[in-house]
């Protein structure tokens, strides 16, 4: 796959279709890749990588990139195409300035999941028929491959590319996923249990803003939380509940626009399952307004921006939890 991608990128650079490529660059370790822009065939040959660890969604970079001179080639995984479409719908990217090649997606892996098994000193890794064989400073270690999956790939919602100029490999289908299972589990908890769950999780927050900064739905020019004049700009939580609120407010803000790409949870240094907040909103929107997948297209009106006479009454308190 990586080779086919590099070859096609080189062709598109050579024939002038694009003047640069956004993809991923190899780092120090087997699992460590960085989103990067490539401008020449030599750079592609030397550093371009597409493997089990290229989980990062590059769609958000296109907000900035599509404003530059010339067309850029972007390799988008199925989930990334939903983000791109949503950005197109919100007029944050210029579709014509991006040449999109749809590539098969994951599942992608998360090095943290390997390390959580107590496997350290990782020097190399390969998938041997479902067994992940990891070469370490302390000898060879093995673990089931699926246990190293990135959380965002554990319950994949779609293998289908919703936007592309061309594909490498076949297109897939929208999947029946179990992505709302954990949400349901939380809904079925007692209010106190649910409160305790989220307090425990959200109290780990160090307020680094990685979730917000990586989120393709968070593209405000100036976030209200970064604006010293907003009155809510805050790096110092005035009380221990504040960063809890930050995440809840952010989930509200991206409700109906979040495509469930899972980047928030992937980047969280404290492993907070932030995607569950967003999934709760998605699940609620589905049940209140009918199934809706943000980023599926670029023209439909999102339920929360659309008024229909048969919309559920705002005052209706939906059944929540068992209490």
């Amino acid at each position: 796959m990586q080779e086919a991608m590099i070859n096609r990128a080189k062709q598109l650079l050579a024939d002038g279709t694009v003047n640069r490529v956004i993809g991923w660059k190899r780092g120090e370790f087997v699992y460590d890749v960085t989103p990067a822009i490539f401008e020449t065939a030599e750079e592609l040959d030397a550093e371009f990588v597409y493997d089990d660890f290229t989980a990062a969604n590059v769609s958000k970079y296109l907000v900035k990139e599509c404003k530059k001179e010339g067309k850029i080639l972007a390799f988008l995984k199925p989930c990334d195409t939903y983000s791109f479409n949503q950005l197109t719908k919100e007029h944050r990217v210029v579709r014509d300035n991006v040449y999109i090649i749809g590539i098969p997606g994951g599942p992608k892996l998360d090095a943290e999941k390997i390390k959580a098994k107590g496997i350290t000193g990782i020097l190399g890794a390969k998938n041997d028929n479902g067994t992940f064989v990891i070469e370490t400073l302390y000898g060879e270690e093995k673990m089931p491959y699926y246990e190293a999956l990135s959380t965002k790939c554990e319950s994949c919602k779609s293998k289908k590319h919703v936007v592309y100029d061309e594909l490498i490999g076949d297109d897939g289908e929208v999947l029946e996923s179990d992505r709302f299972d954990m949400v349901e589990k939380l809904e079925n908890m007692s209010a106190q249990e649910r409160y305790d769950f989220w307090r425990e999780q959200l109290s780990k927050c160090i307020r680094c803003n990685a979730c917000r900064n990586v989120c393709p739905a968070c593209t405000c020019e100036k976030c209200v939380f970064d604006n010293p004049d907003s009155g809510v700009e805050n790096k110092a939580p005035a009380d221990s509940f504040e960063e809890n609120m930050f995440h809840i407010i952010r989930a509200f803000h991206v409700a109906g626009r979040c495509t469930d790409c899972g980047e928030c949870s992937r980047v969280c240094p404290q492993n907070i399952p932030l995607h569950l907040l967003n999934r709760k909103f998605i699940k609620d929107i589905n049940s209140l307004y009918g199934n809706y997948q943000a980023g599926e297209d670029t023209t439909s009106r999102a339920p929360l921006n659309d008024y229909k006479t048969d919309d559920c009454e705002a005052s209706i308190v939906h059944e929540r939890g068992v209490e």
Partner: protein, 339 residues
Amino acid sequence: MLKISLDRINELFEAISASQTLYIPTDREDGAAEYRKYESGMKLSNALNTVRSAKDFFFPQTENLVDFKMEGKNIEVIDIRKESEDFVIFGARACDARSFTILDKVFLAEPVDSYYKTRREHGTVVTMACTRPSETCFCGVFGIDATAPEGDAACWSDGESIFFEAHNEKGKKFIDSISSLLEDGDTAKLEETREKTRAILKKLPLAGLSTESFGGERMMEHFNSEKWGELSESCLGCGTCTFVCPTCQCYDIKDFNTGHGIKRFRCWDSCMYSDFTKMAHGNPRLTQLERFRQRFMHKLVYFPANNNGEFGCVGCGRCLSKCPISMNIVKVMKALEVK
């Protein structure tokens, strides 16, 4: 050397925590380790390191500096400082122990930061030598020996027992306080363990990293390097690297109106944030390139310029594991290396 058998370690923790607050690294349910206040039965983590560094103990993420009462045109300044209580941090690694001496250079320089100082005075740092360094470790590059950590007292594990050694008066006092639990032990197996660890340290993938290109003398050369553009191009501008870093110490001061008085807070800040240098009339660092550059220049060039060549990095590797886009000081050092 004085030792205690590993299977009695919780007896040790009970004894320490009977007289003062004890913090140990322990595993969370998600598998990551973090420092927690010791409670009966809590298990010492086997993880190499905690996600958050140990700097919180002396420089907490948020702290109340001073309160104010406003009445009409009058202001009352309320000094809310109190002496810290005695506490023990058990199990800090060599990298984190060194980070304290780096933080000392900032907070204990005149004018001394009394908030930091009181916690530093009341905290006893008991370090634990590493036995399983990770691929992301590069403390040796900064002259740190992971098998001989600093701290008020240090301890070593040979897999069966933990051995203790005091480095100063505070450390001696600590060991004296637990001496009834300790016995003299043979260190032959420990020496073997240390030797094995040293061999691993030499083999670490980042062991060959060189600091020679850095330091105060090359300030403008590095500042004007063309590499910053490429290095910073995918930086998200988040604060992950800053907040997991044991030596990052920039802070913000903010006021909060509680409705019945004003609380002035200090909190961690990041030079990676867009509003870090923003003023009413402009911002001298407008792009992420400039903000990204500041963070690394500070650690590799500006800090050594002011501190006899000591770098502002301890090679703990947290930023390597945690940066959302895997950009980090190692990549910066390799890119800027002057050959």
